[in-house]
Amino acid sequence: MSAKTADKVATGIIVTITGLIALALIGLLGYILFRGLGHISWHFLTSPPETIRKGGGIGPQLFNSLFLLVLTMIITVPLGIGAGIYMSEYAKAGKITSAIRLVVEVLSSFPSIIVGLFGLLVIVNKFNLGFSLLSGAIALTIFNLPLMVRITEQGLRSVPVQQKEASLALGISKWKTIRSVQLPIALPVVLSGSILAAGRIFGEAAALLFTAGMSSPRLDFSDWNPLHSDSPLNPLRPAETLAVHIWKVNSEGLAPDATQIAAGASAVLIITVLLFNLGARALGRYMHNRFTASK
């Protein structure tokens, strides 16, 4: 077979395979959305779940997912950026830094079930935070920190070294240089990266089964004082997130419409993750031309 036909055949194969992949992906997304969209309604999004009767909603679970996300990002962003700065600015090249980089890499490929079990063992039992939003947030922080560190390092690497030199040459301290010159330039990469990371947290379930718990107490949305036990903002209350709810309804669902609830919740989850991805992409582009090509 001459090289020419081989080339044509190969290109044909590659295109068809990619087409198949695209088709399979769209099919998968379509299947989830198709099965779920029918069930989504304002009632479904806001009302609490029903254990045995029809018409249960995912209100508290949706709120828990979002609130847990905010709580986790509040802990992860400062820690992640701090650690990222240490790795790219303060770490002296050598044995320790490569060892730390290894630690970060190992932590990033840790199975989430182990993070969940560790959460149960240490955060829930030893620190006695119980099944709570805070335990879930700490578990997710551990799960998400390596990604944040890598994102921050990437962001700082994208800052031209001349900017750092220019600032240092003015007699500005290294920390002020990082904070006021390098970080603002690295911001687009860091922000869009952390939104992608947020998308990943939103869909996480394995790490939360044993830390944030599988039940959500009745919430009265009128009481916003975080110290009251049933106020939505109390970080020490158990909080079943959307992903965990899908797992529970799918496996223990007693309600007759359990499958539709699971399908509806999955569709809501996919749409939110989609929004996170698009948001990250749009924000990255917006920030990029705000900072650089601002002719």
């Binding site: 220019a166 240092l168 040459a169 003015l170 006021s180 900072f291 650089t292 002719k295």
Partner: protein
């Protein structure tokens, strides 16, 4: 005999095994322009960068010997590097203004160094921009981004930024080689004006530029200072043959 603003004694610079600068001792007169010339890779830029310890940013680089700024040894281990850099400004070949507004570029340094009230800052900004001969072109868009300026304007902005923190010495690493001829001549005029207030050390490839702006010139070759004298002597009758060959363009 004017005072010595800055002097290097037995300065050596090593990049890993490569010995870039060999026992260079140079004194820079106050309020004078000294040019460092020589073929590329002769260590003149490396030498310049050691003066305000910018080489500290390069992990594999080791700088030995003394650098005296008035009564303080810059290269001492215990020197407070950050404070020293406030007294020695630097301008690079490619203009590198901050990704901030023109005003913020200038005000960033002084505000950090303790000038808090707004009126004083405005005054410093205007003064610096005027001294850098760029006030007219920027006075009505101070809060626009500095990246919107042309190459020549940006370089003058960098100079304005540097003098805003009132250094004693300004180091310039080929400040005009990336600019068009008109901007280059503007920079050269600016340098001769700045001479009244600051001692300037300038690295350049362009010998005519060195002749035009500098009072003294040092000729670098393979990390050594071959000759260091008044600019006219260097360019009219240099003592060393190799300096003469380089001046007449026979090599490098």
């Amino acid at each position: 005999m004017t005072e010595i603003a800055l002097s290097a004694k037995q300065l050596n610079v090593h990049y890993g095994e490569k010995h870039a600068v060999h026992d260079v001792s140079l004194d820079f007169e106050e309020k004078e322009v000294t040019a460092l010339i020589g073929p590329s890779g002769c260590g003149k830029s490396t030498f310049l960068r050691s003066l305000n310890r910018m080489n500290d940013l390069i992990p594999s680089c080791r700088v030995t010997g003394d650098i005296w700024l008035k009564d303080q040894n810059i290269n001492g281990a215990s020197t407070d590097v950050v404070a020293l850099r406030k007294n020695i400004g630097m301008v690079w070949q490619r203009p590198n203004p901050f990704h901030k507004s023109i005003y913020e570029n200038i005000a960033f340094g002084p505000r950090y160094h303790g000038v808090k009230n707004k009126k004083q800052l405005d005054e410093i900004v205007e003064q610096s921009l005027r001294k850098a001969a760029i006030w007219e072109e920027t006075k009505d868009r101070l809060h626009k981004s500095a990246l919107a300026l042309s190459g020549g304007q940006q370089q003058r902005l960098c100079i304005a930024r540097t003098i805003a923190v009132k250094p004693d010495v300004i180091l310039m690493d080929e400040p005009a080689s990336a600019l068009d001829p008109i901007s280059t001549s503007k920079i050269e005029e600016l340098i001769s004006e700045l001479k009244q207030d600051y001692s300037i050390v300038i690295v350049t490839h362009n010998m005519h530029q060195a002749a035009r702006v500098s009072d003294k010139t040092a000729f670098f070759l393979n990390g050594h200072v071959v000759e260091y004298d008044k600019t006219e002597t260097i360019f009219t009758n240099p003592t060393h043959q190799r300096t003469n060959d380089y001046i007449t363009g026979r090599f490098g």
